[in-house]
């Protein structure tokens, strides 16, 4: 119903979407308010849990039409909205980047689907979009391109994951103002609003489980593998 009425930048969201009750977990977008209607979702994934699942990609295709993504993006070639099958990605093409573009919306007319679509449905659409764009399946960042330095790998972990949704690192696509600016992160002596010394151990514990260290913080926990965490820490420590 809300969907049927929602019109943004000439891109009207109509069609069967309104009659599809979204099953599963609802997803929250960037939080502009500290008021909390329910518990925070504890963990953010950085990889698509349905990546490489052919059935999920089929479902994603159906959902792409049901939510009328096709209304603006056509069959992927673009129309009112940009093409999804070329190699131009303003907001990144990792599954997590696409996930967040869907949930948060983008300023030039892409509506925010947060609250209208389930997490599961969003990952399926992201998997479908990556499939039509012919993007290879994502592997944990540390496992590919072994020649890369930890700083480079860590930067990828940062830019592909959900960090970009809240933080700025000047000189990258990560320019959100919701959380603290991390451009000179390594020059800070304390983290977590001044509660902890800026050491590797604290930083790691903070990234993996911030709610436990500072109950009520808006920073969500992130699920990472050891090598991804290691690279991410090294990247953050390079931000002098």
């Amino acid at each position: 119903m809300g969907l049927a009425l929602l019109t943004v930048g000439g891109c009207s969201i109509t069609g069967p979407a309104a009659s599809v009750p979204p099953p599963g977990n609802m997803v929250e977008g960037n939080r502009q308010s500290l008021l909390q209607p329910g518990p925070l979702r504890p963990v953010r994934l950085v990889r698509n849990p349905v990546a490489g699942d052919a059935q999920a990609i089929q479902d994603g295709k159906r959902l792409f039409n049901q939510f009328n993504c096709s209304g603006c993006h056509g069959a992927g070639g673009g129309a009112i909205g940009p093409a999804l099958i070329d190699d131009q990605w303003i907001y990144g093409n990792s599954a997590a980047n696409i996930f967040w573009s869907i949930i948060e919306g983008r300023p030039a007319g892409m509506p925010a689907f947060g609250g209208k679509i389930s997490e599961d449905q969003t990952w399926k659409i992201a998997a479908f979009v990556r499939s039509i764009a012919n993007l290879p399946e994502e592997v944990p960042t540390g496992e590919e391109s072994r020649g890369e330095s930890d700083v480079e790998k860590g930067k990828k972990v940062f830019l592909r994951g959900s960090c970009v949704m809240c933080h700025t690192v000047r000189g990258t696509v990560s320019l959100s103002r919701v959380g603290p600016d991390l451009t000179h992160f390594a020059s800070r002596t304390r983290i977590a609003a001044g509660t902890l010394p800026n050491t590797r151990g604290n930083l790691a514990g903070w990234i993996l489980n911030p709610q436990n260290l500072k109950p009520g913080t808006q920073m969500p926990a992130t699920q990472l593998e050891g090598q991804e965490l290691h690279a991410l820490l090294t990247f953050l420590e390079s931000l002098k």
Binding site: L196, P197, T199, R200, G201, N202, L203, A204, G205, W206, L208, N209, N212, L213, L224, E225, G226, Q227, L229, H230, L233
Partner: protein, 117 residues
Amino acid sequence: MRKSLVAGLAILLASCSPKHSVVAGGEPNTGKNLVGWYGCGSCHEISGLPEAKGLVGPPLRRIARRVYITGSVPNTPANLMHWIREPRKVDARTIMPDMGISEQHGRDIAAFLYTLD
């Protein structure tokens, strides 16, 4: 140095007749401060340190009585020190980070961990 060794030994003996001897050259009180500085408590609950309330890894308590540590290696001072200093060398997939801990700091921290109730 010898004095601190004796002190460490005394603490250890007083605590719970441990299976393992004190870490040679390790100073438990220094280790306690270092644990706070490196931030072990952001991932571990540590007995006797209320500010160490992390729940990423297992709680650290009664380490001196453990038979194995990290679920994989026998509990010896050398193994404990190696784990503290280079966990990713012991287990390439672990989430516990290498924290750039020096040899001496590793000794001090290990000595402290062996005093935990």
